[in-house]
Amino acid sequence: MPPIDGSVEESATDNTSAGLPWLLPDGTLPTGRARALVLLVVGKGGVGRTSVSAAIATAASRDGLRCLIVGLDGRPTLRQLCPVGDGPEVKMVSAGTALEDYLLDVGFGGFARRLATSGVIEVVGAAAPGIHDLVVLGRVKQLANDGAWDVIVVDTPAAGHAASMLTSVDGLLDIVDGGPIREQALAVRDMLSDPTRSAVVAVTLAETTPVNETTELLQTCTEVGVRIAGIVVNAVESAPASPIPSGVRGAALWRELHDEAQSRAKAAMAEIDRVHAIAGDVAVAVLARRPVAGMDAATVGALARDLAGGSA
């Protein structure tokens, strides 16, 4: 099957980099920044969000950027998807420990540990909705301000959760009247609303439900005031142009498979059109489906090249 070129539009610069500029606010590589650019990669389960996160981080590393990729769901797969050696650094941030870490940081000292063991952390988490999301974003903000990285790619949890993660900050500001959580929420909001410091990359499949969910997610981003850096349409299948010649052996079965491929490809093209319609000025990249049942660093490396807009 002819591969679909990673057609990237609106990549506004003539920068010869491997793939990242289309996701950047002004199209230039953020080398030597005091604060890292945070890219939050969002998408519903099964769209390949983790693979795309790894591909973006791999592309950033190839561009010579100091890149960190952060996993939030505690799965070890992220490490296997990134090249070893000069690839991005991988770090896991867990909601459970982030709150405790944060309380330690803001001077609760040993008391934070006592709070944790007594179950108070659990109660605090339940009392203030979104507090776990906030401390996770707070931890990402802290890493971004560290100065050690140019770009931080965050593989966020599934779409519904990503939306609540983004709205958690405003939600908390509504209900929490003071204290360190409010300060943290204000600092995270500053980061999220600054297009030079953070942006969202939405990952979807060329299917109706994921595209619908992406539409809702993008609305949430706009409401919250987070910049949308780009939309990646992942695992798109194309169909061969040539018809099945008549008279070949097994023609009926071949034709059935061919018809299905055609109808899927046609539906995918219609969904990609919808993505363009909702994208407006936001860049869209289309990645071809690979004939594999699992991802590895080599396949992710190929995705990273596709993201660059050039051919592999």
């Binding site: 179950g119 939600g171 003071g178 969910e213 142009a241």
Partner: protein
């Protein structure tokens, strides 16, 4: 071990819980399982806890689904007395029902519903959505209109909460910290007792005193309902573990998804529940082995691509076949279709795969 056919499950179960990772087509498959059962003469209600419109889309309902069962027209695809109903979980509606059920007085229900924390609890307390799902299933099981309830659960990690859910609110209401907040008497706030003061002050410093006041108020509104909640939790726990409840795992032919499915199967076993069937959705069909000589280059490339994909998928599914065999549970391989399912015809096609393969 010879696997029982899947028809044995859909003909006899009272509850079928469809579990699986996100993005495997679980909602559509739940509707297909329900359709298959209805076609075999059962009166089925399928309930989704997914706030997205997937179930409505799969059933071809343009207006979406409500919080009460709605009859689905399967036209002439039904045998005998079979019926198909569908509904969507609305956590807010359900929470109100639950509170009205357990409250001792109308005034208590009114106050509990007016509390700000009650309204945010759905977002804040892990498992609340799942708790509401168990309440719905419990109600539907006891509804004479239906003899089978098919449940479409949230993605696997949270689906385990469905099993734990009945205990969550009870555990929450009985949390030792709340005991401290409420004072040992439970009814009266004794926030200023010497023992609790540092902890209360610490919570107040972290989340602000307004939130804390809301939580305390919430507990006051709910005090007295604990016993009723605990009794319901016991009933529901028994329902999930009853032999008439079947857990069906829905998965996709991908290595990571298969791993997650096997992990989930282990967790189910730990909860004293055994998997009654495994459905692998969207298997790529293998093309014929030999590529005809008359094929153009793009056709050759395409057929090789598909063979490679089908082979990789078959390998990925291997461990599931072994597990199904060990369980004596049917493994259904459902072929990927040319288009998304969005009407009764598509569901009938899927239902056909479920009752013929094993």
């Amino acid at each position: 071990m010879t696997a029982a056919p899947f028809t044995a499950v859909i003909d006899t179960a009272q509850v079928i819980v469809c579990c699986g990772a996100g993005g495997v087509g679980k909602t559509t498959m739940s509707a297909a399982v329900a359709t298959a059962a209805a076609q075999r003469g059962r009166r089925v209600v399928v309930v989704t806890v997914d706030p997205a419109r997937r179930l409505a889309d799969a059933l071809g309902l343009v207006d979406g689904l409500g919080a009460d069962p709605e009859a689905i027209d399967l036209a002439d695809r039904i045998e005998g007395d079979g019926e198909l109903w569908a509904m969507m979980l609305d956590a807010d509606v359900e929470l109100e029902r639950v509170i009205r059920t357990h409250a001792t007085t109308e005034e208590q229900a009114r106050r509990a519903l007016a509390n700000r924390f009650t309204r945010t609890i759905g977002d804040s307390l892990g498992g609340t959505q799942e708790y509401m799902a168990t309440e719905v299933v419990h109600r539907l099981v006891n509804d004479d209109r239906f003899d089978l309830v098919v449940v479409d659960t949230p993605p696997s990690a949270q689906a385990l909460d469905v099993l734990d859910a009945p205990d969550v609110l009870v555990r929450f209401l009985e949390h030792p910290v709340f005991g401290l907040l409420m004072g040992s008497g439970g009814r009266r706030m004794r926030l200023l007792s010497a023992a609790t003061q540092p902890i209360v002050r610490a919570i107040g410093r972290v989340i602000g005193s307004d939130v804390l006041a809301d939580v305390v108020e919430f507990l006051r509104e709910f005090s007295g309902m604990e016993a009723s909640f605990a009794a319901r939790a016991r009933e529901v726990r028994a329902m999930w573990r009853d032999d008439s409840t079947a857990f069906v795992l829905v998965t996709a032919p991908r290595v990571d998804t298969v791993d997650e499915t096997l992990w989930f199967d282990e967790r189910l076993a730990e909860h004293g529940v055994s998997t009654a069937g495994i459905i692998v959705n969207r298997m790529t069909p293998s093309p014929p082995i030999s590529v005809p000589s008359g094929f153009d280059d793009d056709l050759v490339e395409w057929s090789e691509w598909m063979t490679q994909l089908a082979t990789a998928e078959a390998d990925a599914v291997g461990p599931l076949a072994e597990r199904a065999d060990a369980l004596g549970a049917p493994l259904m391989l459902v072929r990927r279709l040319g288009a998304d399912v969005h009407d009764a015809t598509g569901l009938s096609v899927l239902a056909g795969y479920l009752v013929t393969t094993s």
